[in-house]
Symmetry: C2
Subunit: 196 residues, 2 copies
DNA sequence: GCGTTACGGTAACATCCGTTACGGATACGG
DNA sequence: CCGTATCCGTAACGGATGTTACCGTAACGC
C-alpha cells in the first residue's frame, strides 16, 4: 500500500461540493471543474474517485437521501407521540431556515437533472416511494381508526403540500417566511383532524 | 420593407420549441441548437429573434405563464360557483394527463434554471405572487366568512399541495395516477370545508 | 425590372465541457 | 535507504456551446 487516502471521506466531501454548487450556482453551472473548485481540489481527484460525472451526481443524490433519512429517523425517535412525530417529520421538509432553503434548491436541481438521466430518475423514484411509505405509516399511526385508503390520500396531501411549500420558499424566501409555512402545516394537520 | 416575417409567431414557435426540449430532453440539453432543431430552423433564426439564449428562455417563460393564465381565467369564468371555480383552478395545476405532466416537467426545468439567472427568478416570483393572489381571491370567495389570515393560510396550503403533487407526478407518473391526485384534492378541499 | 433592405442559413470563432493520459510526489514494504 | 505502488495535480484532446460575421436570397418600393 501507498499513502492511504480516505476514499469514503473524499467521496462525501465531493458530494457536499455538488450540493454547494447546486445550491449557489444552479444546475447549469454544475460542472466537474466547479465541483472540484468547491471541494478545494482539481478535476484529477474527482475523476479518480468517480468514473464519470453522472456517477458523481448519483453518489451525491444517494448521500443526500441517506442524510435526510437519518435526520427524519432521529426526529421520529425523539417524538413523544405519533402525531408529534408526524408533525416533526413534515416540518423538517419545509424550507424554514437558510440551510433548509438550500436543501430545497438542491432537491429541485436534482429533480431537474433527473429528467435527463435515467439512473437519477430511478434513484428519485425509489427514494420518493420510501418517503411516501414513511408518511403513510406516520399518518396511520396518528389516526389508527382510518381505513388505508384515507391514510394514503391524506399522506399524499400532506407530503405534496410540504414539497410544494419548500419549492415556493426556495424560489422566493421573502414571500414565504417560516411562520407562514408553519401556520400552513398546522392548518392542514388540524383540518384533517391530526393536530397534536 | 422586405418580405414580412411574422415575428411574434416565430417567437412563439421558438418558445414552444423551448418547452419541447425542456419536457423531453431536460434542462441540461436545452441548447440553442436543440431549440432550433425542435423548431425546424437553424441557430441563425434563433439568434436573429433573440439577442441571446437567456432572452429566449425569458420569453418562453413569460409566454408559458401567459398561456396558463388564460387557461385558468377561462376555467374561472366557466365555473358555476366560487367553490367550483376554486376546484377547477386547482385541478388544472395537477399533472393528470400527458400534457399536464409535460407542463410540470417544464415548470420544474424553468425553476431550476431560475436559480442561475436573476431575471428568470424575478419572472418566477412575479408570476408566483400573481398566482398566489388569485388563489387567495378564489378561497376568499369560496369562504366569505373567513378572516383574511385564514384565507391566506388555506390558499397557501392548497396551492403548495397542488404544485408538490404535480412535481411528484411529473417524476413518477405511474406512482401518482390522476385518480389519486384528484382524491387528494377533494380530500383537502373537504377537510377545509371548501367542498363544492 | 431593379435597387434596396430585411431575412435567415452557413460557417467560423473563442470558450468551456467531460474525459483521458501522463508524470511528479509520497508513503510503505523490504 | 530504495524500489515500488498508489495518489492526484497538470495538461491536453475532441467535441459541444453561445455568439458573431458573413453572404446568398427573396420580397417590396419605385
Amino acid at each position: 500500500m501507498s499513502r492511504t487516502a480516505d476514499r469514503p471521506a473524499q467521496e462525501e466531501a465531493l458530494s457536499r461540493a455538488v450540493w454547494e454548487v447546486l445550491a449557489h450556482q444552479g444546475l447549469e453551472r454544475l460542472t466537474v471543474r466547479a465541483v472540484a473548485a468547491a471541494a478545494g481540489c482539481t478535476t484529477g481527484l474527482v475523476m479518480h474517485r468517480f468514473p464519470n460525472r453522472r456517477a458523481l451526481l448519483r453518489h451525491a443524490r444517494e448521500l443526500l437521501h441517506e442524510t435526510s433519512r437519518r435526520r427524519v429517523e432521529a426526529l421520529e425517535a425523539a417524538a413523544g407521540s405519533p402525531r408529534e412525530a408526524l408533525r416533526a417529520v413534515l416540518r423538517q421538509g419545509l424550507a424554514i431556515d437558510r440551510e433548509a432553503i438550500n436543501g430545497s434548491v438542491v432537491w429541485i436541481g436534482f429533480l431537474a437533472a433527473a429528467f435527463a438521466d435515467d439512473e437519477l430518475i430511478e434513484i428519485h423514484r425509489r427514494n420518493n416511494r420510501l418517503w411516501r411509505e414513511r408518511l403513510e405509516r406516520l399518518v396511520g399511526a396518528a389516526a389508527p381508526e382510518w381505513p388505508a385508503a384515507r391514510v394514503a390520500t391524506v399522506a399524499l396531501a400532506l407530503s405534496a403540500m410540504v414539497e410544494g411549500a419548500a419549492a415556493f420558499a426556495a424560489a422566493d424566501p421573502a414571500a414565504y417566511p417560516a411562520a407562514a409555512q408553519e401556520r400552513m402545516l398546522d392548518a392542514a394537520l388540524g383540518s384533517h383532524g391530526l393536530a397534536a
